[in-house]
């Protein structure tokens, strides 16, 4: 079977949707030369009226997408750097995401915000390496963070077809991930539905984004000691609480590995909801970035600020002991 990379999956998903639905169009910076490669060849394939080159005007073109979406189009807005989603935070969370309610359901804003470059950029400086997905979850914006090429394909398709704003985070660290796929089986993956990558009985490890692959490696490494279930929610918001509850019914033990900042991050939300509403026989643990981590200053420091397999293995061992 052919190998599909995560980046190619994004390219294919967007292209397929643009083939399928003439209302879908893409806009962003350096579109013409497809700097991120997501839109490679799209200008020739779909023409300049559906591949819009935008100036260095993020708030402007995010609002532009909102207008086009209210009027019936399905814009996909590409952001090359995660902090650009902070720059347009108000436009997405306080405008695009609220207009449907404010209009009493008259209109919707089917816009997709695609960041195919979330997370660490070595030495680019502390402003370029954030993982702001928890912020969008807090504001109630649909947010996805797929880990594999198949899920990236399926969730980008679903995000584009969704009638509400959806933020799609593709971690830099996953862009090269490759997977054997039968193209015929590629299809939409529903928002808010997680996936058990590896079943287990002793402890549930919730991992998101590129850390899913680290969690699987740690699960293998610990195979002799314990049976680890690896659960990937795939969507940050809405979150698959039922899927998590089902896993905890079985294991009763929880460790989360999450690349977002610790305080008020996704990892905390998962621990909180589990502690409040689900079966836990031992105190849960999370492995995250530090509070308000500033990643990107220099490679040596950056590595120390991101969750590691060793930290996860250690946390799993502790949770199993307690």
């Amino acid at each position: 079977m052919p190998k599909l990379s995560y980046l190619k999956a994004l390219h294919r998903a967007l292209g397929d949707e643009m083939d399928r639905d003439p209302d879908v169009f893409v806009l962003g910076e350096d579109m013409k030369f497809a700097l991120t490669n997501v839109t490679a060849g799209f200008l020739d394939r779909f023409g300049p009226s559906r591949v819009l080159e935008m100036p260095l005007t993020e708030q402007g073109f995010t609002n532009f997408a909102t207008g086009a979406a209210m009027a019936g189009k399905r814009p996909v807005v590409e952001f090359q750097i995660p902090f650009l989603l902070l720059l347009v935070f108000e436009q997405i969370t306080n405008q695009a995401n609220k207009f449907r309610l404010m209009s009493g359901g008259q209109l919707s804003v089917p816009a997709t915000y695609l960041c195919p470059a979330a997370g660490w950029r070595a030495a680019w400086g502390a402003q370029h390496s954030d993982q702001p997905y928890s912020l969008f979850a807090h504001m109630g914006v649909k947010t996805v963070l797929p880990a594999t090429p198949t899920d990236a394909y399926g969730l980008l398709v679903s995000a584009i077809r969704d009638d509400d704003p959806v933020v799609f985070f593709g971690p830099i660290a996953t862009m090269g991930v490759r997977e054997d796929v039968d193209y015929a089986t590629l299809g939409p993956v529903p928002l808010g539905v997680g996936r058990v990558h590896r079943p287990g009985d002793d402890v549930t490890v919730v991992a998101v984004g590129h850390l899913v692959h680290d969690a699987l490696a740690v699960a293998d490494e610990l195979a002799g000691e314990a049976s680890v279930e690896v659960f990937d929610p795939r969507s940050v918001y809405p979150f698959d609480w039922a899927g998590l509850a089902a896993s905890l019914e079985k294991t009763g033990r929880l460790v989360v590995i999450d690349d977002s900042n610790r305080s008020c991050g996704l990892g905390g939300e998962i621990l909180a909801t589990a502690a409040e509403e689900m079966r836990l026989v031992a105190p849960p643990k999370r492995v995250t970035r530090p509070d308000g981590a500033m990643v990107g200053a220099s490679p040596e420091l950056d590595v120390a600020l991101q969750p590691t397999r060793q930290q996860l293995a250690e946390a799993v061992r502790r949770v199993l002991k307690s």
Binding site: F64, G67, A68
Partner: protein, 321 residues
């Protein structure tokens, strides 16, 4: 809708509609208070006189006049201002951020100035000949996001007419102390034809807008029209209680001498006016009765309309969702 009597009727209607609304604010029926456009009616009326039902308006927080001029049902607009489920937005938009797709009035964002790029995005989807009008104030031109919208509209040569209602103030801030250079200069910087026009005479407004609308219809791209105008009642009805000293009574009186309603009234025979006025009063009695008589939203519906589909938001306490 360019006949002098029609223009008079619409201005008069908006004037009396908002005067009745102010009564409802005082009576506690409009919880938000309102941003009255009284004194500025000629701008919305003169601009919208050039629009068809097919054309699109993106309004501002001071938008009641725009909505009525564009053809929204006054009863449903008043009901919306009163937060009733019969309102154009089922009571979820309120006075500040109304939208009414039946009349092609899109969501007025609360983020001042950001409508400019939203309007550009809507214009990007327009059929040939269809036009988008975006209303905003003098304060909006100091918001960078508005200028980003100008750049996009000009680059893509979009059919947008940008209408700046320069009423001299952003809340308490005089335009002269907020805007370095000029408002029209901001349009020209982006290659957008821009001009300053008297906003008190509806026929002057209509003529200036006609040209801009034609340019947009013909694929000539955006235009910026700055209309000089004035709001008699202050920024928001809270000024009825809290007297702010940012302007003098003398200034208000001078502007009232060029009242848009008087100016247009002078072009309509007294007997015709009497008839028009009487009908408006009768209609407004029904409008107010409908609004005040309509039901308020049911708290159990508080999470409705948040999302088109998918799971509903979790409630604020576990268990009950």
């Amino acid at each position: 809708m360019t006949d002098p009597v029609d223009l008079y009727r619409t201005i008069r209607y908006i004037r009396r509609f908002e005067e009745r609304a102010i009564e409802l604010v005082t009576a506690g029926e409009i919880a938000s208070g309102i941003h009255p456009c009284i004194g500025q009616e000629a701008v919305g009326v003169g601009v919208c006189a050039n629009l068809t039902a097919d054309d699109i308006v993106l309004s501002s927080h001071r938008g009641h006049g725009h909505l009525l001029a564009k053809g929204c049902d006054p009863a449903l607009v008043m009901a919306e201002m009163c937060g009733r489920v019969t309102g154009i937005d089922k009571g979820r938009g309120g006075s500040f951020h109304p939208s009414d797709l039946r009349a092609n009035v899109y969501n007025a964002t609360g983020t001042v100035g950001h409508g400019a790029a939203i309007a550009a995005g809507i214009a990007f989807t327009c059929r040939p000949g269809q036009v988008v009008v975006n209303f905003f104030g003098d304060g909006a031109v100091t918001q960078g996001a508005l200028l980003e919208g100008f750049n996009l509209a000009s680059l893509l040569r979009l059919p947008v007419v940008y209408v700046c209602e320069n009423n001299g103030y952003a809340t308490t801030l005089p335009v002269g102390t907020a805007v370095a250079g000029s408002i029209t200069g901001r349009g020209e910087a982006f290659g957008i034809p821009s001009s300053t026009v008297d906003g008190q005479d509806v026929e002057v407004v209509m003529a200036a807008a006609r040209e801009a609308v034609r340019r947009a219809r013909d694929g000539g791209g955006p235009t910026l029209l700055e209309f000089t105008t004035y709001r008699y009642y202050g920024h928001h009805t809270f000024e009825l209680k809290a007297r702010l000293r940012y302007r003098t009574q003398d200034e208000i009186d001078r502007w009232r001498e060029r009242d848009p309603l008087d100016i247009q009234a002078a072009r309509v025979p007294a007997d015709v006016r009497a008839e028009v006025d009487a009908r408006i009063e009768a209609e407004l009695d029904e409008v107010v009765a409908f609004a005040v008589g309509s039901p308020r939203p049911d708290p159990v519906a508080a999470l409705d309309y948040m999302y088109t589909d998918g799971p509903r938001a979790r409630a604020g306490v576990a268990g009950d969702a």
